[in-house]
């Protein structure tokens, strides 16, 4: 928990985590010194998806927790929990959560469109993962921040 807190900067909104077959729980990107690729440099397909979704808006870090199991026993059913402390009020709320899994056949795995009535950002589901890869949870707020 403390590493996460130390990592978060103010007003940042995106988070990437590396899922390995023995998964570490929610890795802050700067805490990792090794991995298959640098998540800062998404592969071409992911870059295309990010551009399509967010244009040239900078994707900032922080405010998002992406939890996945310590051990992904079955790659067909991997629990994912996305939480955020960002507000869900009528004038400022998270309107979209995009789940992107690099190297999955369709990396833009899911989108969750929300309204203030949802009350908080705490979404969980189960996804399929083929291999060690980056999992990104990117939130978009009602005022266009990403």
């Amino acid at each position: 928990m403390t590493e996460r807190r130390a990592f978060f900067r103010s007003c940042a909104l995106a988070l990437t985590g590396l899922l390995t077959s023995r998964t570490e729980r929610l890795l802050a990107v700067t805490g990792l010194d090794s991995g298959p690729e640098d998540p800062e440099v998404p592969n071409q397909e992911v870059a295309r998806i990010l551009k399509q979704l967010f244009g040239d808006r900078p994707i900032r870090r922080g405010h998002v927790q992406l939890d996945m199991p310590i051990v992904a026993e079955d790659g067909r059913v991997v629990p994912v929990i996305i939480e955020s402390d960002l507000p869900m009020t009528d004038d400022r709320y998270v309107k979209g959560i995009h789940l992107i899994v690099d190297h999955n056949p369709d990396p833009h795995l899911a989108a969750f469109h929300l309204t203030p009535a949802i009350g908080s950002v705490s979404i969980s589901t189960r996804i399929k993962m083929k291999r060690t890869t980056w999992v990104r949870a990117i939130l978009e707020t009602s005022n266009g921040e990403v």
């Binding site: 009535a117 979404i123 589901t125």
Partner: protein, 112 residues
């Protein structure tokens, strides 16, 4: 055990007070086939998955999810909801073959 495609269940807490932030758990039975697999005979199994979920509370759409076949078989989802009115909570799951599955629960309050 849910067996038939489209059988869905929505769970909300038993006791809800007006204004509570509740957690909603929902599951629908569906193969969520990716289209990348073949049968033992080699015939392709076509992509067959839930692609849209619409959540309605009373007469208001409160959430909408877009899924791909990357979501696991018999997809579960959980999310929160501000229980500010006594009204039905309805979910409609639609798949890529045009079928829709609907389930509803009533949100009602215990007197605090």
């Amino acid at each position: 055990m849910i067996n038939d495609i489209g059988e869905a269940r929505i769970r909300v807490p038993d006791q809800i007070r007006r204004g509570d932030l509740i957690t909603v758990n929902a599951i629908v039975s569906h193969p969520m086939d990716t289209g990348f697999f073949r049968t033992a005979e080699g015939d392709p199994i076509p992509a067959y998955f839930i692609k849209d979920v619409v959540v309605t509370y009373g007469n208001q759409e409160v959430a909408r999810f877009e899924w791909t076949s990357g979501i696991s078989r018999d997809p579960v989802v959980s999310f929160t909801l501000k229980a500010d009115k006594e009204a039905p909570l309805t979910m409609v799951w639609s798949d890529n073959k045009g079928a829709s599955f609907k389930q509803s629960v009533n949100i009602s309050f215990i007197s605090a």
